[in-house]
């Protein structure tokens, strides 16, 4: 346990030192959301209608963009091979890095979401559902993303390939997330959708670190 906490602490410290990375994933989220009213026009009714979709798509993109921080820089400077050689189970190392990643990206998104919902004229009923879906869904984004991040390690400038691998896998999160909010906005019961989303995240928890670990080992070959 203790070495894994050391890894989380190390990643958090690096995130804070390296130009407030935490702040920046957040900023991308905010910026992408603001682009939409600029592109779509300012009519409040339309904006409210598309708000859940826009928020979740922006969250997907923000999470995906920050994935290259997950392993890439450690891979390039040799830290990743040192982590693997530390003798800890590789799956554990990967899980520790995923947790640190969520704390510096998914969690800030969660905090920013309500403000952006206001900007997009989402009604009050949607708020709780929005927060809940973000809380349950963003860990799945980090978990699933880790697989893509590990698979694209040996690809130079793998950013766009990463999106090709990861975005399709993110689609279930998007769909369950949006339908929960839509249900709440229209006064329906959001619970079934939330449960599905939770089931997804729970299923990812053991599977994704294991798959990502396999990909990490491959990259060092």
């Amino acid at each position: 346990m203790k070495p894994l906490i050391s890894i989380i602490a190390r990643d958090l410290r690096l995130a804070v030192r390296q130009g407030g990375a935490t702040l920046l994933a957040l900023v991308f989220f905010v910026l992408t959301v603001t682009l939409f009213p600029l592109g779509v026009g300012p009519e409040p009714a339309i904006l409210a209608r598309i708000a859940p979709g826009v928020l979740w798509v922006a969250a997907l993109l923000a999470a995906m963009l920050s994935l290259d921080r997950l392993f890439q820089s450690d891979f390039e400077d040799g830290s990743l091979e040192q982590l693997v050689l530390s003798g800890l189970p590789v799956g554990g190392v990967v899980l520790a890095k995923i947790i640190a990643h969520w704390m510096t990206t998914g969690f800030p998104l969660l905090l920013a979401a309500p403000f952006l919902a206001v900007l997009l004229n989402m009604n009050g009923e949607g708020f709780t559902a929005l927060m809940l879906t973000m809380l349950i869904g963003t860990p799945a984004l980090s978990l699933i993303g880790a697989i893509g991040a590990a698979l694209t390690l040996t690809v130079r400038r793998g950013g766009v390939l990463l999106s090709l691998l990861v975005l399709p896998l993110y689609i279930p999160v998007l769909i369950f997330g949006v339908s929960a909010i839509d249900a709440a906005v229209h006064g329906l019961n959001a619970k079934p959708h939330l449960l599905l989303l939770a089931a997804l995240t729970v299923a990812c928890l053991p599977l994704c670190p294991w798959a990502a670990a396999a990909a990490v080992k491959l990259s060092l070959d």
């Binding site: 390296q18 130009g19 407030g20 702040l23 920046l24 900023v27 910026l31 603001t34 009213p37 600029l38 026009g41 300012p42 009519e43 409040p44 904006l47 206001v118 900007l119 004229n121």
Partner: protein, 241 residues
């Protein structure tokens, strides 16, 4: 960095210290007077009621948001062209202050928007361009923070500030244009009722108070930055000797 580099700034520190005291006193005095005028003396608006008092914070901070960016751009140009180290520091010091005023204008604006328009936010041209201005400030500050070497960071940030300065009018213009296409002008009218002298005076006093506050903060931040750099240079020097 050689010592002659700081010769001039040493003078600056002493002078700035004195000006800062005066400006600080002035800001405090004006702020008290302005708040008194705004909250007690000025009448409530016959249409907007007490909420009109938000204006006395909102309008000066909006003005300062624009002013600070112009200051930032000019300081950056001076830094790039004449390579004066104080201009770098002035630009760096003014960014967070400008971002703060911009944020204040946004917050007070939305607080006012809720009672006036029934919503916290609309994608009106003016509001949108202020929001984008806020992002420009954030980008500038993030770039400073992200590059460790302060001389490099200064130059990079100056390039960004100038590019941003060219872009601000374009954004303003494009947003105005974009907005009129979709949005009927009837929903909001920023020019509002012509301002009565009983409101104009508190507004001007507050505006002056904000400006004095800006000068105070700017000088304080510049002196702090200067001291930090000196400490760092000393530390680096005796580490290797």
């Amino acid at each position: 960095m050689s010592m002659h580099y700081f010769a001039n700034p040493t003078h600056f520190t002493r002078l700035a210290g004195r000006i800062q005291q005066w400006a600080g006193g002035l800001a405090a005095g004006l702020l008290i007077a302005g708040l008194y005028l705004a909250l007690v003396v000025a009448p409530a608006d016959y249409q907007q009621g007490e909420t009109v008092r938000i204006m006395f914070v909102h309008v000066p901070s909006a003005w300062m948001a624009l002013f600070c960016y112009s200051f930032l751009a000019v300081a950056s140009a001076v830094a790039l062209i004449w390579k004066h180290p104080l201009a770098d520091m002035a630009a760096k010091a003014s960014a967070p202050i400008g971002a703060g005023f911009t944020f204040l204008a946004l917050v007070t604006g939305s607080l006012w928007g809720k009672p006036m328009w029934g919503t916290w936010w609309v994608w009106d041209a003016r509001l949108t361009s202020v929001l984008i201005l806020f992002f420009l400030y954030l980008g500038y500050m993030a770039l400073w923070q992200a590059i460790e070497d302060s001389q490099k960071a200064a130059k990079a940030a100056a390039v960004l500030a100038l590019v941003g300065a060219v872009n601000v009018p374009i954004i303003k213009f494009s947003v105005d244009w974009w907005n009129t296409l979709h949005q009927p002008a009837s929903v909001l009218r920023m020019d509002g009722p012509a301002i009565h002298p009983s409101m104009l005076w508190p507004l001007l006093v507050m505006a002056l108070a904000f400006k004095a506050y800006f000068v105070t903060l700017l000088l304080a931040r510049m002196r702090m930055e200067l001291n930090l750099r000196r400490i760092r240079a000393l530390r680096l020097a005796d580490r290797t000797s």
